[in-house]
């Protein structure tokens, strides 16, 4: 497919060639701007332009650094501590302050808080990433089919979306998690995704509805492309921007939701080291040593902060309306 000369944002039709500038017959100054455009260089695509925009922001690098750090910690916690978070505990050390080799001190059970904070990253990241992936697949599929095929598909899928939208996420998660016997990262992510896909479906449906009326879609049909192929090759890639923006922020909110469920005691079981569970146990000793809660809460906040900041940067980069000229 030839590169789009005038990249448009999803949601807005591309300007027609020759209509971007109106130059008065005697306005020589106006032509200067046209001449200044480099014509030897290949036109930049929407995505490359956005990437350039993103790279220039300091916030992008801060967010990226936080996310990479959290991902590395989640994948290889052993690199950061040699202390085991659950087995190297001694009740005689309960609530003891920081000592050499144990920079954060010890929790109620006498476990090393630093090790528990490091190992807690995995549960949060795993649930957040899995739930977001499921939400993207489910929400995009339902929203795209509803928006692209329209008619009865749209009516039925939109009503189903409304039904799931009407049930608050935390409420549904509490009801389902309380009846789930085998609670793992996967089941928590699945439950969050089952009631969290509606926003992406609505966003996708909206953008697909406007993208499918573009000329390149008509052109593809005229060339004899099948409806399914057009949806996958032309409509969906051009609807991706708002989905990516929402997904980045959603990852942060899913991590908070997991922590909330673990805090309520119906998320991950106590055998899994998680920030939500650790905050819940730290709460028992909050009047004696409140600083214990600081570490798992800090890890959680930092992770969510990274993803929300990234979502902000991505939104600014992918939305030309918000770009500062």
């Amino acid at each position: 497919m030839p590169e789009n000369r005038y990249p448009s944002t999803p949601g807005q039709p591309a300007p027609r060639t020759g209509q971007e500038h109106y130059t008065a017959p005697f306005d020589e100054g106006g032509l200067g701007a046209v001449d200044a455009v480099e014509t030897t260089e290949a036109p930049r695509s929407f995505w490359r332009e956005s990437w350039r925009e993103m790279r220039s922001r300091a916030m992008f690098w801060v967010a990226a650094a936080i996310i990479v750090l959290v991902l590395v910690v989640a994948a290889f916690p052993g690199l950061f501590t040699s202390v085991h978070p659950r087995l190297d505990c001694s009740l005689s050390l309960s609530l003891d302050g920081p000592t050499a080799g144990h920079p954060f001190g010890f929790d109620f059970q006498g476990c090393d808080i630093y090790a528990r904070t490091v190992y807690g990253a995995r549960a949060s990241v795993l649930v957040g990433v899995m739930a977001t992936a499921m939400v993207i697949v489910l929400g995009t599929a339902i929203g795209a089919i509803a928006g692209y095929y329209g008619g009865w598909f749209d009516t039925i899928l939109s009503r189903i979306t409304d039904i799931f939208f009407a049930i608050p996420l935390v409420l549904a998660a509490i009801v389902i998690m309380s009846i789930t016997a085998n609670r793992t990262s996967f089941t928590v992510a699945f439950v969050l995704a089952l009631f969290g896909w509606t926003s992406i479906a609505r966003i996708t449906r909206g953008t697909v509805l406007s993208v499918k009326n573009n000329e390149f879609v008509t052109a593809a049909r005229a060339l004899g492309m099948g409806r399914g192929a057009i949806l996958l090759k032309h409509v969906l890639p051009n609807s991706a921007a708002p989905i990516i923006v929402y997904a980045t922020v959603a990852l942060g909110t899913f991590i908070v939701a997991e922590a909330t469920l673990s805090f309520l005691g119906i998320g991950l079981p106590p055998s899994v080291v998680s920030w939500g569970g650790d905050i819940s146990t730290a709460q028992r000793a909050i009047r004696i040593s409140p600083e214990i809660m600081l570490y798992p809460a800090g890890g959680l906040a930092l992770t969510v902060l990274g993803f929300i900041m990234m979502g902000d940067v991505v939104r600014d980069a992918l939305d030309p309306k918000a770009r500062k000229r």
Partner: protein, 308 residues
């Protein structure tokens, strides 16, 4: 307008039926037998179990049970729970407090979120905008329950400015801190939404026209910029009321408030299925009603929307 209202009400029916059926199925098709569990370890004789099942319609097929429940919803007769209490009484004891708490949180996030967001959006890029934006990021990133514990310990226990817990029959003052905590995250969202919306509308043509025709600054801001910027904010607030009432379960736990959250959790643990679905049905109804109200508010805010 009336025609629109009627069509909108018709749309609500499948959503209400679908959502309640889904919740009913989730609660009643779960493994385990609450009737058998009533007897503890020894169990109850078969005849007693059958008698209890018949009394609570548990011997009927699933769909019949659901329809009987639905009839109860419309006749306001939810039945009794296993301990013999009227479920309507249980709900009447739980909902007023939670509703008050959620409304207070909604008011706080609306007033402060829109106020801060308006000032930040008017001077986008300034020092106030920058600091408010960073603050909102932190409020979103720190989970509600951590904010709750820190507020309880700091403002309640250490400084003594607020009551530490609300307890039975709380007054406005003792619900204030829980409401601030409950509304904190949404406050940050409202702030950011207002800020973006205001900054976008400031460069709109109609604002330039309003300025050009010599309107005063305050009138341009209040009548044109703010009113148009409120549309996405109102949408968010409408959907948020339901989330606040359901999400209050955490805040209510921290501040010891006897509201919907505690009652729901208790009912789930005890296997009081009818109480669980009754409470959740009312929550879904609140959610639907709030969204309906928002749709009608659009007409008042956006001059382009007319329900002819």
């Amino acid at each position: 307008m009336l025609w629109y209202l009627g069509r909108r009400l018709l749309q609500v029916i499948p959503v209400f039926l679908g959502a309640t059926l889904l919740l009913y199925a989730l609660v009643f098709l779960r493994p385990g037998d609450p009737v058998n569990a009533l007897g503890g370890e020894r169990g109850l004789p078969e005849a007693v179990q059958d008698e209890i099942r018949a009394r609570y319609n548990l011997d009927q097929p699933f769909l019949v049970q659901y329809l009987l429940f639905l009839r109860g919803v419309f006749t306001l007769d939810f039945g009794v729970d296993f301990r013999g209490r009227e479920i309507l009484d249980v709900m009447a004891g739980a909902f007023p407090v939670t509703f008050q708490l959620a409304l207070m949180a909604l008011a706080i996030e609306a007033i402060f979120g829109v106020g801060f967001g308006l000032v930040a959006g008017m001077r986008k890029g300034g020092w106030f905008d920058g600091s408010v934006l960073v603050m909102s990021l932190f409020v979103i990133a720190v989970p509600t329950f951590v904010i709750g514990f820190v507020a309880q310990l700091g403002l309640g226990v250490r400084l003594g400015w607020f009551p530490v817990t609300a307890g039975r029959d709380p007054d406005f003052y003792s619900l204030l801190m829980p409401a601030i905590v409950l509304g904190a995250v949404s406050f940050a969202y409202v702030l950011r939404l207002t800020r973006t919306s205001v900054a976008e509308n400031l460069s709109a043509d109609y604002v330039r026209t309003a300025r050009a025709k010599g309107l005063q600054r305050s009138q341009v801001t209040g009548r044109h910029v703010l009113r148009n910027s409120l549309i996405p904010v109102v949408t968010f607030l409408g959907a948020d009321l339901g989330n606040l009432m359901a999400g209050a379960i955490v805040t209510e736990g921290i501040f010891n408030i006897n509201g919907v959250g505690g009652t729901l959790y208790d009912a789930i643990v005890r296997g009081e299925n009818v109480t669980v679905v009754s409470l959740t049905t009312v929550l879904v109804l609140v959610y639907i009603a709030a969204n309906l109200l928002v749709d009608l508010l659009y007409a008042a805010l956006d001059p382009r929307i007319r329900y002819a």
